[in-house]
């Protein structure tokens, strides 16, 4: 048996580019992070040993991902669609929880009544519609993508809070702060916990179980911190603006 030694740098680059695309394709097929780590490990080893062109050896990343997940006994596409729909509904509930909490907390801290507006209903629905598209970005597990999505949501919430503070909502029904704050916090907390628990990083197959658990916990903690920031930052901005006003 011969193991090839092709132009190492060029070949390694092609291999890594292929692995990035394959990672995305496997995420789109809802393959667990641990299994993705194994698939990528085997592809890297095969390409390093054979010196073959990745597409020549494995086919297009999307086709290879489909071959790895082919299960003639299960209708995966139906399952995936309902999973995506459930995820969108969960995100909508989570964003509604965040909005109610922000409004309720701001009202409590500034001593004014909370206001139920069209905003608390429309934005979660908008997020639910956009979520299936954005989930694909988050699903690549590329930190930049996930962080970008988080920052986008934070920016939208901050901008909305600013607009509300200055221009006021179109419709407004004053309610005691607790009416929005309590259910809002419960829903937001449930969403944050569920989202953080669902974190599924790609794991290096050579890492032991303890190390993989640590990696998973770290990823969960990072996401929890990011989501808490989504809760706290708009409150701080909103209260600050109202004090200034």
């Amino acid at each position: 048996m011969t193991e090839h030694t092709p132009a190492p740098r060029l070949h390694a680059d092609a291999s890594e580019r292929y692995c990035e695309e394959l990672l995305l394709a496997l995420r789109m097929q809802d393959v667990p992070g641990q299994r993705i780590g194994e698939v990528l490990g085997e592809v890297r080893d095969h390409l390093a040993s054979s010196g073959e062109d990745p597409v020549e050896a494995f086919g297009a990343p999307r086709d290879y991902a489909a071959a790895l997940t082919a299960d003639p006994t299960a209708d995966r596409s139906t399952g995936r669609r309902s999973a995506r729909a459930l995820e969108a509904a969960r995100n909508a509930a989570g964003v509604a929880g965040l909005l109610w909490s922000v409004e309720g907390a701001t009202a409590l801290l500034t001593g004014r009544p909370a206001v139920v507006s069209e905003f608390q209903v429309l934005l979660p629905v908008a997020v639910a519609v956009a979520a299936p598209l954005l989930v694909d970005v988050v699903a690549t597990a590329r930190r930049a993508g996930a962080l970008g999505w988080g920052l986008l949501v934070a920016a939208v919430l901050a901008a909305a809070a600013t607009t509300r503070a200055w221009a006021g909502p179109l419709l407004e029904v004053p309610v005691p702060a607790a009416v929005l704050l309590v259910p809002g916090l419960l829903v937001a907390a449930a969403w944050i916990v569920a989202t953080a628990r669902a974190v599924d990083p790609v794991l290096d197959p050579l890492q032991g179980a303890a190390s993989s658990r640590r990696r998973r916990r770290r990823a969960s903690a990072r996401l929890t911190a990011l989501l808490l920031l989504l809760l706290v930052a708009p409150v701080v901005v909103s209260v600050g603006l109202q004090h200034l006003g």
Binding site: G41, E42, D45, A48, S50, E52, G59, D63, L68, P205
Partner: protein, 142 residues
């Protein structure tokens, strides 16, 4: 790829599809091994070139069904390497399916050998004429 009988054509893909699981399992049964080496062994044995895109999903199915067990170890140069080993269940499967395959191969060999022998000998006087291509096709359509 050239089959060991010297024929310039590779084995038809549909033949390989039927027997590749068994061939891979037989290679793994020879001793602990890994994906790239399994592909190389298959080629050297004359089974043919099996691309990674075919081999690794097949290995994953063998692992899922418990026919092989796997361990990850540090590779020689950088990436980790997944090693495959046949399990007792895999050996049973290889024994049973191997026996069935050999029976099937013998049956096919006998059938084609008899047909080849008949084709080389002249038809007996008064015997029914051999079916023409057209009548065979018509039969297949019925």
């Amino acid at each position: 790829m050239t089959p060991p009988d010297g024929s310039p054509d590779p084995w038809p893909a549909q033949w390989l599809r039927g027997v590749l699981d068994l061939a891979v399992l037989a290679v793994i049964a020879r001793g602990q091994t890994y994906g790239y080496r399994i592909g190389n062994d298959l080629r050297e044995l004359g089974v043919g070139t099996v691309k990674g895109g075919t081999l690794y999903p097949l290995l994953a199915r063998l692992e899922e069904t418990g026919a092989v067990s796997t361990t990850w170890r540090e590779g020689e140069s950088g990436p980790g390497r997944k090693w495959y080993e046949i399990t007792p269940g895999g050996r049973d499967r290889l024994r049973q399916e191997g026996a069935r395959w050999r029976t099937f191969a013998r049956l096919t060999s006998d059938l084609t050998a008899a047909a080849a022998a008949a084709a080389t000998s002249a038809p007996e006087p008064g015997a029914a004429p051999a079916p023409t291509r057209q009548s065979l096709d018509a039969g297949a359509q019925r």
